[in-house]
């Protein structure tokens, strides 16, 4: 049977199996190889909150989805074109996401009585005809893996552990990817264990050759390299990009980087990444709780470091009081909230955008804080960097909102040359800040920013704190008019940052029937949908807010140019609430609160419905 190669523009593949099946690793390696051949891509892992759920159970299924193509890729893909299911549970859990006609590769070895039962199948779906609507490719992956390794003297456990490389080989064949990068990786990874090098390489090739020879494979795909912006690229996960952004900002500002954080899903990786960078003068302090995380960071900011604290929703809640202190003390500080599904503990490993209003308003008293939201894994780098820039230039806490979805997802990042990065200004106290030889900590520059006087420098001794401050002197004051003055001044200082950020850009026509207005991680799904709608001839445009407080100065004007505004959000309508109030425009909402990102089709359909298309 001849194997035809079909050229396609984009493919979504999902690897799924037991937590122990190594699907996360397979997905990551597939992603690296795919990036190397020049496709654009986007990835998303999805794993259970249990560390190691018992084998074969539904809740123990771990998945990794990749979307790659020869055009720009904005999301990890709505629905998989190809599902790899290593056991019945993986099939069961993922089947509902497949469209009819999708390809399913199953490890037939695992479809035994016990696993079928654990997955809740009454009959074997491989045999009972229930999968008739799909193209099922049933491969005895375990058997073939073991066969490939026979005679090497490996234990059964060691052998079966290699089966994710069989899957990799098979899918490399299917999507026409080279084996070399992975073989190199294996050699590096297992440098100390030649036996594992041999085994994994053997199995990888076995998978590839199986595709090439087995009768069952009739389909093979090729995806041309994408036309991306010129440059050197790497794959980054959102949390990794945040870490890189902060280190870059600290280096550019010539400061130590201090991170005071308490581990929490899905933000912990920022701590892991930064704790490895001691030679960058990075001080990571794993605090006893989130309050110590932020208050040690505030101490570090007082002490002259670029100070950050990173967390997720429940942790942000705990930092509330101390954020107010940072506002009053006017110290630079970046607070990262990698949002997860709430309220309360909620669904820790699931994504959501539920913390926007908290970021905006969740503090006692009038305590304005700039808010920035990253729109994709690679954008996290710029969110961290820009937040640091604003914090340092304006002596203010800044909140960065990320989301579980982009924190754990990855995409190619065009690596900037460090020298290209925007300079970062600090406002260290100098002799010019003194009046008659005396230093007052609340004098201000033309941007209303107070000077940063770091302990250790003679002549600048001063005291700050959380009580209301007297203008200029910084003395404690409960003078009525001073308080009003200071409340307004702090507010104005933040609002004025609008003069220092880019205007909002609009993708598509600058006016039209519908503006889809988003923020944060919904970027990809919206962009995909809007591209398709434009292609279909609709007058639909897209604006994605990176700056949520203050907002770009031209936003109100943009909103006026569209007949209707649609705000899709992974919450009950938090940005919509703000936009309505700020601009007194009626907006339409599309809300999804399922712990999952939007599918672009959901947005596309909503717009079509608005426009009366059937």
């Amino acid at each position: 049977m001849e194997k035809q190669i079909k050229e396609v523009k984009r493919i979504t593949i999902r690897f799924a199996g037991d937590s122990g099946d190594g699907m996360q690793l397979a997905g990551n390696i597939f992603g690296d190889t795919t990036a190397l051949v020049g496709n654009d891509l986007s990835t998303l892992p999805d794993y259970p909150s249990e560390i190691r759920a018992p084998a074969g159970t539904l809740y123990g299924v771990s998945g990794f989805q990749l979307h790659f193509g020869s055009k720009e890729i904005y999301t990890p893909g709505d629905q998989p074109d190809v599902l790899v299911a290593m056991n019945p549970a993986a099939l069961k859990v993922n089947l509902r996401d497949l469209y009819h006609g999708a390809i399913i590769i199953v490890n037939s070895d695992s479809f035994d009585q016990k696993n079928l039962q654990l997955a809740g199948f009454e009959t074997n779906p491989l045999e009972d005809g229930s999968l008739a609507n799909y193209q099922v490719i049933s491969v005895p992956i375990t058997t073939l893996t073991i066969r490939a390794l026979e005679g090497m003297g490996l234990s059964m456990k060691e052998m079966t552990r290699c089966k994710n490389f069989f899957v990799l080989g098979l899918t490399y064949w299917m999507f026409d990817r080279p084996l070399e990068p992975t073989i190199n990786w294996i050699h590096k990874k297992f440098a100390k264990n030649p036996k594992m090098i041999e085994a994994n390489e053997k199995v990888l090739k076995a998978g590839y050759f199986f595709g090439d020879t087995a009768e069952i494979f009739t389909m093979r795909f090729t995806i041309k390299p994408a036309q991306l912006e010129k440059g050197v690229y790497r794959n980054v996960m959102g949390n990794e990009a945040l870490a890189l952004g902060f280190v870059a900002a600290a280096r550019k500002a010539n400061l130590k980087l201090f991170q005071g954080s308490y581990p929490i899903t899905p933000a912990s990786e920022i701590l892991h990444e930064l704790s490895a960078l001691r030679n960058f003068d990075v001080i990571t302090f794993q605090a006893e709780d989130e309050i110590a995380g932020i208050t040690t960071a505030i101490g570090a900011a007082f002490g002259g470091a670029l100070a950050i604290t990173t967390t997720s929703g429940p942790g942000l809640s705990l930092k509330t009081e101390a954020m107010g202190l940072a506002v009053m003390a006017e110290l630079p500080l970046v607070i990262v909230d990698v949002q997860r599904a709430g309220p309360s503990t909620g669904m820790p490993t699931k994504t959501e955008q539920g913390d926007l209003l908290q970021a905006m308003f969740g503090r006692n008293g009038e305590a304005p804080i700039p808010v920035i939201a990253a729109k994709s894994p690679a954008d996290c780098f710029y969110a961290a960097y820009e937040a640091s820039r604003i914090a340092l230039k304006y002596m203010t806490p800044v909140i960065v909102l990320s989301e579980g979805y982009i924190a754990q997802g990855s995409e190619p990042w065009r690596i900037p040359e460090p020298v290209e990065l925007q300079t970062i200004e600090t406002n260290f106290a100098s002799e010019e800040d003194k009046k008659d030889g005396k230093f007052y900590p609340y004098v201000r520059n033309e941007l209303n920013v107070r000077p940063w006087a770091v302990p250790g420098i003679a002549g600048f001794e001063h005291r700050i704190g959380g009580l209301e401050k007297k203008h200029i002197t910084g003395d404690v004051s409960s003078e009525p008019t001073n308080h009003e003055f200071m409340v307004k001044l702090r507010d104005q200082k933040i609002q004025n940052i609008a003069n220092d950020i880019p205007l909002q850009d609009v993708f598509g026509e600058q006016e039209g029937d519908v503006l889809v207005l988003g923020w944060g991680g919904t970027f990809g799904a919206i962009r995909d949908a809007v591209i398709r709608l434009i292609e279909k001839g609709y007058k639909v445009s897209h604006a994605q807010l990176f700056y949520l407080n203050p907002m770009p100065k031209n936003l109100g004007e943009i909103l006026k140019r569209f007949k209707r505004i649609l705000i899709p959000e992974l919450n009950l309508g938090q940005l919509a609430f703000i936009i309505r109030s700020r601009f007194l425009v009626d907006v339409e909402q599309l809300n999804k609160i399922q712990g999952l990102p939007f599918r672009s089709s959901e947005i596309e359909n909503k717009v079509l419905k608005m426009l009366g298309a059937k």
Partner: protein, 342 residues
């Protein structure tokens, strides 16, 4: 402290800020402030190298009155803020001024973790056994059954023994003094200032408005000698108006003995060893006062040396730099699997 400069000559006045001191007239806090201002010059540290951090409470107003760097934080978080200052600036002399509510109630967790990690900060606990600033509720050091604004029928809570708690967390210097014993207080402040590691100094402080006289049985002449035993290194534990009582160990068991009836002499008494590394020894001392008839120990319960958190942290930083070289941003960005689009 790497910045000790022998040439510096300060007077207490150099450490007085321009702010009006706003405690109630007669408050014990005044004495603590005065002793600190008297002692700082002795440390031979440049004044800009001092940082005083506090939480919220009457006592936490302290930093405003000392003419150095200061941070009046939020309630309970002084030790955490101070930790952040110290870790980024290991050459500063970082002090915490705090109250029994601030440190032991809302701030209890940061306190025990700071001690555990041996962060080099000096904690001055102004223990007046009451919430002063909020006008008179009981605190975690208030005696059982005490009647206060929030316990009109008396509390039903056992108090903390702050020294015992600090020893349980292995603070490396643990000491106690009193607002009304200025000489001793200065000595203890000096010891704290010279210590490298977490220094915990509990200071009995009279709140003459909401808990007047809480410590008069220890501080006032008529009672002091019989109720207080001064801990001095290498000296036997003697107390009493006529130095007529002492503390003896019978196995593990401390006993109060009379030195008058000829049965016991000073040579039979427990000789204090500040530097005993075994925290069980200091734990024993910290519990003396809970036994009927025993005096309250004042002085240094223990002082040991071990690497501080920032010692180990900067050692690690230097170690990693030695191994991997000074961090290079470009390398960090590009030294991984990359590909180029042309």
């Amino acid at each position: 402290m790497s910045t000790v400069e022998l040439e510096i000559k300060y007077t207490p006045k150099d450490f007085q800020s321009d702010q009006d001191v706003r405690w109630c007239p007669g408050c014990g806090d005044y004495s603590i402030l005065a002793q600190v201002q008297r002692t700082l010059p002795l440390l031979k540290i440049k004044k800009e190298k001092f940082v005083f951090v506090s939480g919220i409470g009457c006592s936490s107003r302290f930093p405003y009155y000392v003419d150095t760097y200061g941070f009046h934080g939020i309630h309970g978080r002084a030790t955490a803020i101070a930790t952040g200052v110290k870790l980024t600036n290991p050459d500063l002399s970082v002090w915490v001024a705090t109250g029994d509510g601030d440190l032991l109630s809302i701030g209890g967790n940061h306190f025990i973790h700071t001690c555990r990690k041996n962060v080099d900060i000096k904690i001055l606990l102004f223990n007046n056994r009451i919430y002063g600033l909020t006008k008179g509720q009981y605190s975690p050091t208030s005696e059982l059954h005490k009647v206060t604004k929030s316990s009109p029928y008396g509390t039903t809570e056992y108090p903390f023994n702050p020294v015992a708690l600090a020893i349980g967390t292995e603070a490396t210097l643990v000491a106690r003094s009193m607002d009304r014993d200025p000489k001793h207080l200065q000595e203890m402040i000096l010891r704290a200032g010279q210590h490298k590691g977490t220094a915990f100094l509990e200071i009995y402080q009279n709140c003459n408005i909401f808990n007047d006289g809480a410590f008069f049985h220890l501080t006032e002449k008529e009672y002091k000698a019989d109720n207080v035993v001064y801990l001095r290194h290498n000296e036997p534990l003697v107390f009493g108006k006529e130095e007529d009582k002492g503390i003896r160990l019978d196995g593990m068991n401390p006993l109060v003995v009379s030195l008058k009836d000829g049965k016991w002499s000073k040579d039979d008494l427990l000789v204090h060893d500040e530097f005993n590394r075994d925290p069980a020894y200091a734990a024993m001392l910290s519990r003396l006062e809970e036994k009927p008839g025993f005096p309250v120990p004042i002085g240094v319960f223990r002082q040991i040396q071990k690497p501080t958190l920032e010692d180990m942290l900067y050692e690690q930083i230097n170690e990693v730099k030695r191994k991997k070289g000074e961090g290079d941003l470009r390398k960090l960005f590009f030294d991984t699997t990359t590909w180029e689009i042309k």
